[in-house]
């Protein structure tokens, strides 16, 4: 009885909730982004070594953390969907993938823009960038597998297995790439890491981080609504709410 109720009620409920929550994530995200941008691009002092080039970390670092975080969210949602057979969790996982892939692309692009003045090349086989690239492959594989099934339910479960296998592999990839790179140079060479950073440089970064997370939440709400609409296109609640 509970299952029946739960199954029947949750897509419309989730659809409405996502719609209600979305502005509360989106507008603060924009606001924080503006504050963070001013803080990072105007107020923060120039780096004594890297000059103004370092300022790209205000986009690069949050994107990088988000790309990894979203993969984890995706895998957890997929796992929840598998174990408790919750369709909504699968919808969340499906909605996560393209967002995560875009953040990964953003990380790679900003990383390579940053590399030009720093290393003199557009691409450096830096361990962070390399593992981001592999992460992008993992996202692409996930989306390709999902797209290759006609049946949404089978796509959900097959891609969930891949997401779980992938998330188990992420630390292994990370570690192997760092090890691989350390054979050529010291592991601390990666300049994109900001181990010691001054306060006036740090607070805009933290603000940007928060802004990006909220922004992810807002986009997730949007995509989730789209995903629910696609999955429930034949459901009665939808035609009723449209009529």
């Amino acid at each position: 009885m509970w299952l029946w109720f739960h199954k029947l009620s949750s897509p419309p409920y989730a659809y409405r909730t996502a719609g209600l929550v979305r502005p509360w994530l989106f507008w603060p995200a924009i606001l924080l982004m503006i504050v963070g941008a001013i803080g990072g691009l105007v107020l923060a002092p120039e780096d004594y070594q890297q000059k103004d080039a370092f300022r790209i970390i205000y986009v690069h670092v949050p994107s990088a953390s988000l790309s990894l975080m979203i993969y984890t969210v995706m895998a957890v949602a997929a796992g929840v969907g598998m174990i408790w057979r919750i369709k909504l969790a699968h919808a969340v996982a499906a909605a996560c993938a393209p967002i995560g892939a875009w953040f990964t692309v953003a990380t790679l692009v900003t990383g390579s823009i940053y590399g030009k003045p720093m290393w003199g090349t557009w691409w450096e086989w830096d361990p962070r960038l390399t593992s981001e690239l592999i992460l992008l492959f993992l996202y692409l594989g996930y989306m390709a597998l999902r797209a290759s099934f006609d049946d949404t339910q089978r796509a959900d479960r097959a891609s969930a297995i891949l997401a779980i296998v992938g998330v188990v592999n992420v630390p292994i990839v990370k570690y192997s790439v760092v090890w691989w790179n350390s054979l050529h140079q010291g592991p601390s060479i990666s300049k994109l890491a900001a181990p010691s950073i001054e306060g006036s440089m740090l607070w805009p970064l933290l603000i940007m981080m928060l802004a990006f997370i909220l922004y992810f939440g807002a986009v997730l709400c949007d995509r989730l609504r789209g995903e629910i609409l696609r999955r429930e296109r034949n459901a009665s609640w939808l035609s009723e709410s449209l009529a």
Partner: protein
């Protein structure tokens, strides 16, 4: 008290309760229910595309049900799935035989995964279905009807109590059908159960033989 009830009204061994199934956009099974008791043959009938195969695959546990329950000996699947599968012999449209292996090799592997079996036993069963001459030929070389008979031999050898057979008599000639009906009757007499999807009804009018019509 409970035991008394069980003794007077036998419990169904296999039960489907309000099984719903969608295939893509199509709502294929709309609340199908049935009960199967020891010694019964239930034949699922209906036009092509009505979901006979899907129902059989649902019951066998190959397809997850959208809603509804499949209950085996009082336990709702997938709880106790492995025990259920050990009591189940399933025959699909495809025979599940390797074309490169001989009939005997196919049977030996197919049965040994479940229980120990001797070559004599395998040959005897092939003889029951009049395909003993095919024993040492690669399955590739057999006719469609002979392949079906070998596949049915595997079902018999499995010693499962429940047979789920999807159009078992496809490609069988008259003699083959008669042989097979005799095996089914034998299985029912020893308390076995059979669930089939069929266009042509078997053992019509015999006790314990029922049909389930899908629309």
């Amino acid at each position: 008290m409970l035991a008394q009830v069980a003794a007077t009204s036998p419990q169904p061994q296999l039960e489907a309760r309000a099984v719903h199934l969608w295939r893509g956009e199509k709502h294929l099974l709309r609340g199908v229910s049935f009960a199967l008791y020891s010694g019964e043959l239930l034949q699922v009938v209906g036009p092509n595309g009505v979901g006979k195969t899907s129902l059989l695959r649902c019951v066998a546990g190959l397809l997850p049900t959208e809603s509804g329950e499949i209950v085996w000996q009082g336990q709702q699947l997938p709880e106790g799935r492995d025990e259920f599968h050990r009591e189940l012999a399933y025959l699909a449209h495809v025979n599940g035989l390797k074309a490169e292996l001989t009939a005997l090799e196919n049977l030996r592997f197919g049965v040994s995964v479940r229980r120990a079996v001797t070559t004599e036993e395998l040959r005897e069963t092939l003889q029951l279905l009049h395909v003993e001459a095919c024993a040492d030929l690669p399955v590739r070389a057999l006719s469609a009807g002979q392949k079906r008979r070998v596949a049915l031999a595997r079902i018999m050898l499995t010693r499962a109590s429940l047979w789920i057979l999807d159009e078992p008599i496809t490609n069988l000639d008259k003699a083959g059908i008669a042989l097979f009906e005799a095996r089914i009757a034998e299985h029912m007499r020893t308390g076995g159960m059979i669930l089939t999807a069929a266009h042509q009804l078997l053992l019509q009018g015999q006790p314990g033989v029922r049909t389930l019509e899908l629309r």
